[in-house]
Symmetry: C2
Subunit: 168 residues, 2 copies
Amino acid sequence: MSSHVEQNLVEGNKAYAAAFTQGHLALPPSQKYAVLTCMDARIDPAAAFNIPLGAAHVIRNAGASARDAFRSLVISQQLLGTTEVLLVKHTGCGMLTFDNDTARGLVKKNKGEAAAKEVENIDFITFSELEEQVKDDVAWLKSKAVEEGVGVTGWIYEVETGQVRKVV
Amino acid sequence: MSSHVEQNLVEGNKAYAAAFTQGHLALPPSQKYAVLTCMDARIDPAAAFNIPLGAAHVIRNAGASARDAFRSLVISQQLLGTTEVLLVKHTGCGMLTFDNDTARGLVKKNKGEAAAKEVENIDFITFSELEEQVKDDVAWLKSKAVEEGVGVTGWIYEVETGQVRKVV
């Protein structure tokens, strides 16, 4: 039996596909950029960042970590023509609320010893100050993950207001 | 000076923020699920998969790779309450068009020797058969990345039609 979540996907997709007119779009992003943002449920990148369908790669992980997105960023630039990367972190991010030790402690408390054992070697890539981390990730991208001539900017999205602002 | 891409973000976001009414949403996804899909520019998960704002984590990387999403999936489940994972790969995926050797060859051809050197140890995590890879990734998730009781299903989105269908 399908779950409620599956039914919601199937029903909503029927309406989406019925109105769909963009089956002709090409594989490489038409506007040659990539947006790297957080997996946070409160962010709708296409709507909030005004990304037309087919225009940009959208990479998402916990905390909008540049390091964790390395493989996707390499593919985006080196194989699919991306020349500009926009990194967008956000207020109220879960990655701001703990460090590796407290995360492991939480896993142990919530899920028990076995789960805690499984995550003991994971780097959760948390951070303690939002604006500084945007700058740090942009610097890391520039030094390690983008080629000469690829633009990188860093932004903060406010989940409380829907507003985005440029940091660097 | 801002690029065209930056101006597009800033202008579009003004309109989004002006109409924004959902600043009250909580950090943990309200419907306790995560969607893992590709960074492909032709996919708009919120619209195509009917995800209400605040309802689900959305994780995206090149090819919707389960392995590459491991850290985010752990955080989603073990720290933020996710109990269901929907993996959605898609037709026309770039990861279907090469293997590690051809990817490295393409990087060398497009970007030169220095770039090729940088990617010689990257596993691009390509695949050759879409439906099989959905099944393989779901099996991997069930054995390595989700806990007992967390549901995992696998889907294919057709970029040509906007339709999604369940594989497993």
